[in-house]
């Protein structure tokens, strides 16, 4: 099956959670943790 007959949802890259978030310009705590409003 040539590439033109398939569509890759991952674009050929096995992106981990922190890669996805970094790619979006997010700077979350430890990559994917949303801190509470008071910073705890």
């Amino acid at each position: 099956a040539p590439e033109k007959f398939v569509k890759d949802i991952d674009g050929g890259i096995d992106q981990d959670i922190f890669d996805i978030n970094q790619g979006l310009g997010l700077d979350l705590f430890e990559g994917d943790i949303k801190l509470e409003a008071n910073g705890k």
Binding site: A1, K7, D10, G12, F18, I20, L24, I33
Partner: protein
Amino acid sequence: NSIIGDHKRWPHTIPYVLEDSLEMNAKGVILNAFERYRLKTCIDFKPWSGEANYISVFKGSGCWSSVGNIHAGKQELSIGTNCDRIATVQHEFLHALGFWHEQSRADRDDYVIIVWDRIQPGKEHNFNIYNDSVSDSLNVPYDYTSVMHYSKTAFQNGTESTIVTRISEFEDVIGQRMDFSDYDLLKLNQLYNCTSSLSFMDSCDFELENICGMIQSSGDSADWQRVSQVLSGPESDHSKMGQCKDSGFFMHFNTSILNEGATAMLESRLLYPKRGFQCLEFYLYNSGSGNDQLNIYTREYTTGQQGGVLTLQRQIKEVPIGSWQLHYVTLQVTKKFRVVFEGLRGPGTSSGGLSIDDINLSETRCPHHIWHIQNFTQILGGQDTSVYSPPFYSSKGYAFQIYMDLRSSTNVGIYFHLISGANDDQLQWPCPWQQATMTLLDQNPDIRQRMFNQRSITTDPTMTSDNGSYFWDRPSKVGVTDVFPNGTQFSRGIGYGTTVFITRERLKSREFIKGDDIYILLTVEDISHLNSTSAVPDPVPTLAVHNACSEVVCQNGGICVVQDGRAECKCPAGEDWWYMGKRCEKRGSTRDTVIIAVSSTVTVFAVMLIITLVSVYCTRRKYRKKARANTAAMTLENQHAF
């Protein structure tokens, strides 16, 4: 490692809302992730119905969650673009349940080396350690296989690993996004005091002599025997595949010594269903006659039926000779029951019989189809190899095929193709909202210890290809022609999937390949009912729910639910605040209540005081008048006297 503090825990049943913003595929994946929790832990999920705290899953930017129950009322968890993978959802919900990342635990330096100069400047804070006054590893060893562990490439500034495992064999193990590890489950079940799960029922590999409490029926002509091998096959059991000497048992129905029509029934212990639907899974081996068959019954106990009601659920005929084969049987039992395996001796000669092993029963949905690939290591080792599955039909009638791409030296890809089928004239095109879930089965005998590798894709009827045609249109219109091995011509649409389904390294791990066989489990189901904002012309029961709510707009984050056929808004609430009113338009809080209570009290007091003062004044005035009148009368008497 878990966040310390009981106030951070959720109740065992977590209320949730799947917000409309979520992608359709993500909604289906989230529900599948919930099923994993139900199978392996005591954590359950229910649609939010007004509880004080709930998890609102929405499509934000990226994949993220808070850690633990933060008692915010509505607690957000984002499943954004590219986050719609089951292990990612499991990961984010583990955060919400109170877990940090594995490599941030207090003792992590004993197990991994953080290479600080390979980390992007300013990103070092992502590798913080939390000491044991903040986080608790729950007395469970460091877990390289945790779904909560970063991979070796996390926040790297070049190409070299930022996390180096002290045991090098684990370097490519860290960062798995397949499923809960055994230790993930141990910690979660410990933290939430789980002693059982919602959907697991039984697992039996026949290693113990008590054969998991199964019983031989008395009303049949033969018995099943617990053996470790049969001369005519199988040479070993399926659980251990003969790797452990003096162990590895299975149950065998020897048809070589029986006449045609002889039966042997093996009944499970009593089982108590909770959900009303079950999936029975087992491996079957035939070394007897091609006409021997296995019948699966349930014996359901209803009031007044002492011996139970025996119902035939599946007849398995023409079992291939000479290999273990995986079988699934869907059950729908609502009362106390047993599962019954009946071996039936058929006509023809037999030098062996039927064997069963590795039984699992759970209250989950069975996969719709099984793609069994034999001699897999040879295929995997071949050059430029790719394999297509046989054609299958979805429950709606769409024909499809799976393509496994083995051409890469590092990764294995998997794709879903619609193909032309017998029902195409009656089906809706472009194909709307069918979710295809492709699972590589971990063949561990116990379903609770399996790590599935799963990906799902969903057919979006509005999606277009580069040439402008609808991607999921009829394959005979947009596909290419190919020929099945039997010579039948057909059309195949463009495949949709991933080149990075699993790495070759991981594929060779665990029990994905067992006896040189792999299984790809396939389910294609209609998820139109999850598309709550668009009316789908499909008579599913949930349609009425959506129609009733279609004209109701709830304000302030309220959600519309249907109760007794009427649409109602369930309003969000926190510990000390809430929304109320028909459309959640009014806000309330405990502060407001206090103010109302105090002002009411003061008002009542003031009114009472005024009434009292007026009463006293009037009474005094009245008596003064009376007293004055008496005085005047006395004076007159005196005047008369003088």
